[in-house]
């Protein structure tokens, strides 16, 4: 749907030249939600501004439905901008206009007016759950409500892609939830492809199908969130999965110790007890926990296994679809 191809962008100042984007490539499937994460200074904002067509990259391409948008000018650039709905970073609403008036702005630009425009604004207010705030001015709305109006405005002209730049950075965790719900609804009900640039892993946890990790102007990791969590070396996994730093003292008392990542209802619910039954081993959870990525329950446990068939049990768990990584046990002698 949207393809970012080898984007390079440098800024020069008196202090010298800084390469904010150093060959960023990214692909987001139609109708999916992709999160772009990374530490401050990684180039997230620059990437967002390039995709919003506010900044022109030095080289590279941004394609929506196969058409490259970076080299366009004039009225074709304006038309291209309507394909990408942008929720900018920070407060971006017209403060002298009502919520409805703000949402109507892109429609005015597109020449949509009269009853058609009113109907569309009504639909969008409904989508973001602010029908009763249509006549309110931004200063009468809460931060989360303002952000939802910004999302509705970004969606007004029926864009193929919705780009949200740090949509939750100024919000508390509860309000963040309401904004993320709206982004998720936009994808579900309008089929729009969503790209969220954020430093907040909670965003990835809640709504992202895919994630791209940006560092020093490069994508260092890119893939489906549920695939990445199964990858032991993935940074995404390291931040999204429950921590393991409990139960260190218990490791020595077990024949085998392993870290197990379980994805999905069936795996999380039944795999470990079944392994225990099937192989007659004693299986204890030493650390880790359960979390949820979108709708999918995901668990990472550090398990200790006692019993003759401990190895077979681990093998079976692995074959059943879980990711098993054996942890080197403490010194054997001490355990005995």
């Amino acid at each position: 749907m949207i393809t970012v191809d080898n984007l390079v962008k440098s800024f020069s100042s008196r202090a010298g030249s800084v390469r904010a984007l150093n060959g960023v490539s990214l692909e987001v499937q139609a109708g999916s939600v992709c999160g772009v994460v990374g530490p401050s200074g990684a180039g997230k904002s620059t990437l967002a501004r390039c995709i919003a067509l506010l900044e022109r990259p030095d080289s590279g391409a941004i394609r929506v439905d196969g058409t490259d948008l970076v080299s366009l000018d004039g009225s074709r650039l304006r038309a291209a901008r309507r394909q990408i709905g942008v929720v900018p970073q920070g407060d971006s609403l017209l403060r002298q206009r009502t919520a409805a008036g703000n949402i109507a702005l892109p429609l005015e630009s597109a020449g949509v007016d009269g009853p058609v425009r009113r109907k569309r604004v009504g639909e969008l207010l409904d989508l973001v759950g602010l029908t009763d705030k249509a006549a309110s001015y931004p200063d009468q709305l809460s931060g989360g409500q303002r952000q939802r109006v910004a999302v509705a405005r970004a969606l007004a002209a029926n864009p193929a892609v919705l780009l949200a730049d740090e949509p939750t950075s100024a919000l508390d965790p509860e309000t963040t939830g309401s904004v993320l719900t709206v982004l998720d609804r936009a994808r579900a009900e309008l089929g729009v492809t969503v790209l969220v640039v954020t430093h907040d892993m909670a965003v990835v946890r809640r709504i992202c199908d895919d994630v791209a990790v940006l560092e020093d102007g490069k994508v260092v990791e890119h893939g489906k969130v549920l695939d990445l969590v199964s990858d032991a070396d993935s940074r995404t996994a390291a931040t999204l999965l429950p921590g393991l730093d409990q139960g260190e003292g218990l490791i020595g008392t077990h024949d085998r110790v392993a870290d197990v990542v379980l994805v999905g209802f069936a795996a999380v619910g039944a795999l470990l007890p079944e392994a225990s039954n099937r192989f007659g081993v004693e299986l204890a959870v030493l650390g880790g926990g359960l979390t949820r990525l979108g709708e999918t329950p995901v668990a990472r446990f550090r398990v200790g296994i006692n019993g003759e068939r401990a190895d077979s049990a681990l093998e079976w768990i692995s074959e059943a679809g879980a990711v098993v990584r054996r942890t080197p046990k403490g010194p054997q002698g001490v355990a005995a």
């Binding site: 919003a52 900018p88 920070g90 407060d91 403060r95 702005l105 892109p106 002209a157």
Partner: protein, 205 residues
């Protein structure tokens, strides 16, 4: 005299301010040469003492336009022209107060520059623009006193002719107070309108 001059000043001052703003290096349509020229015009225009402006404009604008260079109607010409650069700068700084994020958000919707100027820049700064026109109108009250030299009439004229030249302190002080009250009234009205149309921080009880 003041009201007509204010209307004319607004008609030209706001477009001047908009052009100054959008042609700036980081504006919507950077045009360095135009920006420089307009800047010089605006600053030069404001620096000319009003009395000099009246005389200066008599031959080149006022007479060709109205076929007279004296009287209240003729005084409107220098008043309006003198106020344009003043208001232009005020408008420019009002537009500068519009948040860049808001403007960029409008850019990303694919809005044309004209629409951004109208809906975003002018729309968002409307209260500030009303205030700017108010300040201009009050300034014109002061300027109009000088217009007496070309028979512009008005209160300032009265103060000079009767108060100063005939040593009539009563008329002098009365006119000064009336001028003061007029300025205050104008300021009050414009502030009131500015507040009425401002939608920021309106709390509904």
């Amino acid at each position: 005299m003041i009201s007509v001059a204010t209307v004319f000043a607004t008609l030209f001052g706001i477009p001047l301010g908009v052009l100054l703003h959008v042609s700036a290096p980081n504006g919507l349509r950077p045009l360095p040469v135009l920006h420089r020229i307009l800047g010089v015009v605006a600053d030069f225009g404001r620096s000319v003492p009003f009395i000099v402006l009246i005389v200066l404009l008599q031959q080149i604008v006022t007479r060709p336009l109205l076929s007279t260079s004296i009287g209240p109607t003729a005084a409107i010409v220098p008043l309006a022209i003198g106020a344009v650069p003043f208001l232009g700068r005020l408008v420019q700084s009002a537009l500068r107060e519009v948040d860049a994020t808001v403007v960029e958000a409008a850019v990303t919707t694919g809005a044309s520059r004209l629409r951004i100027v109208r809906s975003v820049l002018l729309g968002e700064s409307a209260p500030a623009l009303v205030s700017a026109v108010g300040v201009t109108a009050v300034t014109l009250v002061g300027f109009s006193a000088i217009a007496g030299v070309v028979g512009g009439g008005g209160l300032g004229d009265l103060a000079i002719r009767y108060g100063y030249q005939r040593y009539d302190d009563r008329i002098m002080w009365t006119t000064v107070i009336v001028i003061g009250l007029l300025a205050m009234l104008l300021q009050f009205l414009f502030d009131r309108v500015a507040r009425l149309i401002d939608r920021r921080r309106h709390v509904t009880a």
